[in-house]
């Protein structure tokens, strides 16, 4: 992982992109309950959507246009890495449908008016470059976008894919007995906040009874950055090979929030039960002490999180093995599908896997 050295880029030595917004990454999303209220007022019922992540619209000749937009406040100090994370995060909404090719992307950008002119120019270019480079890595192109001035920086984009409908794995096919596999660890919100407290807001750490060592803070943060900056593309490709019955990507609503969305769109009367929470080793004790993010309850926001993939029971481990072999990263069985009423829950004492 690249170490962020502001000075080497011409930025102020203490430049920190997250310092310009009160919220971090996907935690800036309008809370799910509020959003549903607003949508109800407008007459839109989310459970009638084909997918909670992307829109799927037929465009003739058996083709569909899948599209998504996602954007958020920075969650890391380094604007280049931030741009990369934002692009990964947008693409995950397409990957969740088993779509591994993106036709084109647009960039969504708000430049903070609070950043001084020199830092603003460098940081904005770096963010755009990170976004653009990650799009290239994913085999797609950024063809346009929109940029505005705002108090808080915002970065994100739009991802679109025109594909044969047969290539789309609609996330509605869960059956009792199916397993749920997660392709990235949880705990990004803990990781990025712990890092910020340690380096930029040490007074926040006074809440903690055990003060973390610099080594631990860096280790957790670096793992989180590696994870957020990784594409879920391979996870999407393998969904086809192992007969996945649908997936969602885990972001701002936490693993439970997104499990609920996934459960709500199922055809069968099933529930999703999450029994395992893989997380960055050492991260969970800080949530327990601060108890702000409700990690154990499944609500802690993720940014550019993993895919939560529904797989036939007999294929779950093969999917994981293949993923780890090809991608060099771990994946875990974190839950299962049981008969139910299209709800989701985290069991009372979930198993914690320290990654």
């Amino acid at each position: 992982m690249r170490r962020f050295l502001p000075k080497s880029l011409g930025l102020n030595p203490n430049f920190n992109l997250t310092g310009y917004a009160d919220m971090k990454g996907c935690s800036c999303k309008v809370p799910q309950v509020k959003l549903q209220e607003y949508l109800r007022d407008v007459g839109i019922d989310m459970s009638q959507m084909e997918s909670p992540d992307s829109s799927i619209v037929p465009v003739g000749n058996g083709m569909v246009l899948c599209s998504t937009t996602d954007f958020f406040n920075p969650c890391v100090a380094d604007p280049y890495l931030q741009g990369q994370i934002a692009a990964c995060n947008v693409l995950s909404d397409l990957y969740a449908l088993g779509i591994s090719t993106c036709t084109n992307m647009l960039m969504v950008l708000a430049v903070s008016k609070l950043i001084d002119e020199n830092d603003k120019k460098i940081a904005t270019s770096q963010m755009m470059k990170g976004f653009n480079d990650m799009a290239t890595k994913a085999g797609t192109t950024v063809t346009g976008g929109q940029s505005i001035i705002n108090p808080w920086p915002i970065i994100g984009g739009v991802g679109m894919s025109v594909v044969p409908e047969t290539q789309v794995i609609y996330p509605r096919g869960a059956q009792p007995g199916d397993m749920l596999v997660l392709t990235k660890p949880l705990g990004c919100q803990l990781a990025v906040n712990l890092y910020e407290w340690f380096y930029y807001k040490p007074h926040q750490l006074e809440k903690l009874t055990t003060k973390p060592s610099e080594e631990i803070v860096n280790e957790i943060f670096n793992k989180a950055c590696d994870s957020m900056g990784s594409l879920n593309r391979k996870a999407a490709e393998l969904m086809h090979k192992y007969g996945s019955k649908g997936a969602t990507d885990v972001t701002g609503f936490g693993i439970l929030g997104h499990s609920r969305n996934l459960a709500s769109v199922q055809h069968a009367d099933v529930d999703i039960v999450i029994h395992t929470l893989p997380t960055f080793a050492g991260a969970i004790q800080f949530d327990k002490q601060v108890h702000n993010y409700r990690f154990i309850e499944g609500f802690s926001a993720e940014t550019s999180g993993g895919l939560l993939v529904i797989l036939p029971r007999e294929n779950a481990q093969s999917y994981i093995d293949d993923f780890e072999r090809q991608e060099g990263r771990q994946a875990w069985i974190v839950g299962e599908v049981v008969p139910g009423t299209k709800q989701a829950r985290v069991v009372e004492n979930p198993k914690i896997i320290n990654v």
Copy 2:
């Protein structure tokens, strides 16, 4: 035009959506010069783009995916109208390519954390409803989106269209002698600011030597609202009938900014010369007195402005006549194409048409 009565919607009687952001409408765009700087740093050359407004990407079978995103801070007090304006503004980027059908839209929303809870709920639902209703009016559907929390409210969206490439009018075919037709008056920035000063910030009017009457303020503002809330769809359809050689929509960079973008993508060595500025009667004197927005120079930001359409000289008036007959709104010849170097300019004493 619908009069905005906050109380009748359950809002605080003095609720004003524009009161929560320092900038208004498309004037919040990152200035063109800055944007070009950022893009240069990333290695992107805007003049190489197919269109300054939308992206055009081939998707097989002779079809292309045209896509655009646009969003901004509110420019009117009424959240429902604001939603309508935002949808019109997004669609204009597709209309500028002569594309009159939009496959689907996504909504881009930032909910202001500064608005009190009750007003926030109502105003957000109203904005979403306005956006959604205008999409319906345009014959398309809002299929998704993203909503975040932010100091300033933001509203906008994404528009996508999968169409046969033969239906796209690439904006690159201008020839010397062609005329430029504008399908909405200019001066929205003047109109919305004048209105806000009069009703919400009267101290700002102290700059003015002649104080405007309430009647004039309302008249200018209502005309601007009608204009911003009108779709450019018919203008797009008629581009085909009258052999248009391309168009752009006039928004945040002002008529000159967008003329420059349009000129820069031409195949032929031509310049665009703007000689006429149609504007809301009475608006221009306030620009002259305040001289903030550089209206006469062509820089005053528009929000959901008209299409600036390149037409063969012999067809310009027929286009206008047909447009007025079908749409019930005026259009004007505002400029012409001359031999040049892909630049644009406003003549020194442009003709002002009071609308």
